[in-house]
Symmetry: C2
Subunit: 488 residues, 2 copies
């Protein structure tokens, strides 16, 4: 399990899959395109999920659960929405299997459904069909609901965490009395996304609005957080959509306002998914495996005892017990790895592969000197510390690792983000890898041409639009400053 | 919303649905058999889920996530399992919709899947296909994995929370080196189930083993917790299965033991679902709506101010703020209901419907006397207390309500549990409603006859088997003392 991974520089894609497999984060499922999230990977997801969930609740959102199955006809109600999702959805047509003469199972023709049902690719349609029932008056607004769920988008090309037929996510769906409130909500959520991804996951972001061709099928405006992966490609890590009245009109959701007039409500939707784990791996991972920011690491500190006899282990156990207890009291996840018959070297490799931020090594000789060794996963630095100072130093180190991983990623992102005003220069940067900040004339045609010539897409239109640039492609006055990159 | 419900005594089934609707716990989904869990109902589920999750983690289990989609052929691998699930499953046959000439959507024939996939009715098969990959040595055991997930069993008769096509649950799947360890695990989980359902949800249980005809399709033995609903019918509230080597043999999962021999592993699986919310409603609810045990109530205390002006409200806010703060510090969920333009009476009704354990009423006149009124939801008792004593009394009351709800349910269950040795007597009790403890000769034929004649099933074979009885039906010496009842 703890064998080494393919070096990043040799084959980035292979490196990525190796890390996932060897750190036991995930595995391929038997149905093409599906994925198993293994316990260690799932614990990372639980940590990320809990942080988001708390932030959503703090801002007045509640969780609910809507059905997996959507009537086929619902998809058709919002014109752009159906375009976006009908081409890649799982369709349930029968409700019973029956045995053939040879004993193999086949869908029972008698169980054919009158109307096929779709496995949700996203839940706007089913949720808005219910909001019609629940929203009558301005007193029912705002309605701020989130759900944690699995969704399905049929994918032929699988890439663990990034592109799978089924994935886990949260999807928020809110209804508001006014356009302003809905737009404010869209931005509030975008801020939560940015805060959690940057400050907990240690991933620096570029934030902004999507171009029309890249926005969500059914949205008026889509905002996104974009991260730079270790291969300098972009990953869309979360989106927040202002839906205007598109869905409230499609599902005829009106409320009686305080002026007694009936109005269609304004909507938002927003989501982050297990894809974030893919970002985590690609932003922080190195040739030894994962590197996890302490704030989301399932194990923050691992203690590896170096011993020959049971008696040695007993003495070491007593020696480190004040650390174990202190960490427990302070909700710091600390694992004392006393697994038998595995060498310390094996354990070091395993915990490095799994990205544990801090490792403590302690052997019999350290006892007399009242010391122990701390190894940092982020920079491989080892230091010898006095046992009496250990608790404080460990906590300081965790805080420092959190910062260092972010700063390292930020430096990498900055070093690989370029301004360009010449299209040849642009093409060279895109080909070498990186984000390009440049002017765009705002024409979809220009965007399409650039995409077809370079594979780069507009990742977002940053909020800060102070610069007066020329379009990188047409050299006409730019309508927007945008960020281009190849993306996952 | 807070209108009254159909009285229990008039129409129990209507009462049940009324409570769910009016307390805003759930709603029917657009696809037949599906359900929406609304925010208030979902919060109850979150509370229950968090308690179980903690207990599972304390006992060494970790969460993971396995795919929704199972290859059709997997279902066929365990003979009894396929019998149990093939008749009521959702089958995905296509992966794309295409528009007809008239614009309506239809499954694209070109997207027909080579092998149909089944939406998981339970995950034994897919999990054991992965365990084959992960389990090699005795060092990999025990493997103690749980998942929180949605599952689908196609149901034509819908009953919110009790019988829906899709429901939420946890399913534990463990692998062990020995039979003894696996059986111990089965009982360990049964104990967790009993503890949480009795001590947190306040629902008294009958616990035991299932008869062969009632056990899980694929299990060697099934154990269950059974609760008595308000209409004296039984509800199976959770099951823990000892699977023996049935699945490890079906999926050929072997490990190398410490004696270097290859052996098939021993397995368990176990689950509780959102059905527990149905139990909660039917065990504690009354004609005013829900009554929630404090330990799982989303809101434990509601404070309703009685005021005429904004100034009044300000004064009351200050008056109750020490209570609000104290509860917050002690992690007691306390909601100060300052919603405007709703009368206190309306609020009282609403919170009674929603089962909030304690209500505080406070008006301007109470301020001078330094008092407030506490109303208990469980027994409708009101008392006036000094504000200075309020915090302590409120906490005491919450503890007392938790006990009282359990005791009330236990008395009800005891009063409606009967011993019988005569079949006519048996039939009368079953017809009137209740649990019957009696002898059974152990023949499936006898069990079938009793079921067809009375609709009663063996709910379980309790662990305590000291009595020597005669079979209620054949009058032959009984093999077991069992509990019969009609069940949901």
């Amino acid at each position: 399990m703890s064998k080494s991974v393919t070096p990043k520089s040799k084959d980035y894609s292979k490196w990525y899959t190796d890390v996932i497999t060897k750190a036991e984060l995930a595995d391929y499922g038997p149905v093409k395109g599906t994925m198993i999230i293994r316990p260690y990977g799932f614990k990372i997801w639980e940590n990320i999920k809990n942080i988001f969930d708390l932030e959503f609740k703090k801002t007045g959102h509640t969780n609910a659960y809507f059905p997996l199955f959507i009537p086929k006809s619902f998809l058709n109600k919002e014109a752009e929405h159906v375009e976006g999702f009908a081409k890649e959805c799982a369709i349930v047509t029968h409700s019973r299997l029956t045995a053939d003469d040879d004993g193999s199972l086949t869908p029972d023709p008698n169980s054919k459904l009158e109307e096929e049902v779709i496995v949700r690719p996203t839940s706007e349609t089913i949720i808005w069909s219910m909001y019609k029932k629940w929203i009558k008056s301005h007193r029912d607004l705002p309605l701020l609901i989130n759900q944690w769920a699995n969704v399905v988008r049929w994918e032929m090309r699988t890439r663990l965490f990034l592109r799978t037929s089924e994935f886990l996510w949260q999807e928020g769906h809110t209804a508001h009395a006014t356009e302003k409130e809905a737009i404010d909500e869209t931005h509030k959520i975008l801020n939560i996304y940015q805060n959690v991804v940057e400050n907990f996951m240690g991933i620096p972001l570029t934030v902004g609005r999507k171009s029309d061709s890249e926005k969500f099928a059914g949205a008026v405006e889509t905002f996104s957080i974009e991260a730079m992966m270790g291969d300098k490609k972009a990953l869309q890590a979360g989106t927040s959509h202002y839906l205007g009245q598109n869905f409230s009109k499609a599902f005829d959701v009106k409320f009686q306002d305080s002026d007694n007039k009936e109005k269609h409500v304004y909507a938002t939707s927003w989501g982050v998914s297990t894809r974030l784990i893919g970002a985590l791996i690609m932003v922080h991972g190195d040739d030894k495996g994962l590197r996890l920011p302490p704030k989301i690491a399932p194990i923050q500190i691992v203690i590896v005892p170096i011993y020959k006899s049971d008696n040695d282990l007993e003495i070491i156990t007593e020696y480190v017990s004040p650390i174990v207890n202190y960490m427990k009291q302070n909700n710091i996840s600390c694992y004392f790895d006393t697994r038998d018959k595995l060498s310390p070297g094996f354990k070091f490799n395993e915990w490095e592969m799994k990205g544990v931020p801090l490792r403590i090594e302690v052997g019999m000789r350290d006892l007399n000197s009242k010391i122990l060794t701390i190894a940092r996963r982020d920079n491989n630095e080892k230091s010898t510390v006095k046992i009496d100072d250990a608790n404080k130093l460990l906590v300081n180190n965790l805080n420092d690792i959190q910062k260092c991983l972010y700063n390292e990623a930020l430096n990498f992102k900055n070093q690989n983000t370029f301004q360009a005003d010449d299209y040849n220069e642009f093409k060279k940067i895109i080909s070498d890898g990186g984000f390009v900040e440049c002017g765009w004339d705002g024409n979809e045609e220009t965007e399409t041409k650039i995409k077809s010539e370079t594979n780069a897409t507009i990742r977002c239109i940053p909020f800060n639009q102070e610069k007066k640039l020329k379009c990188i492609y047409t050299q006409n006055p730019a309508k927007y400053t945008v960020v281009f990159a190849k993306a996952y």
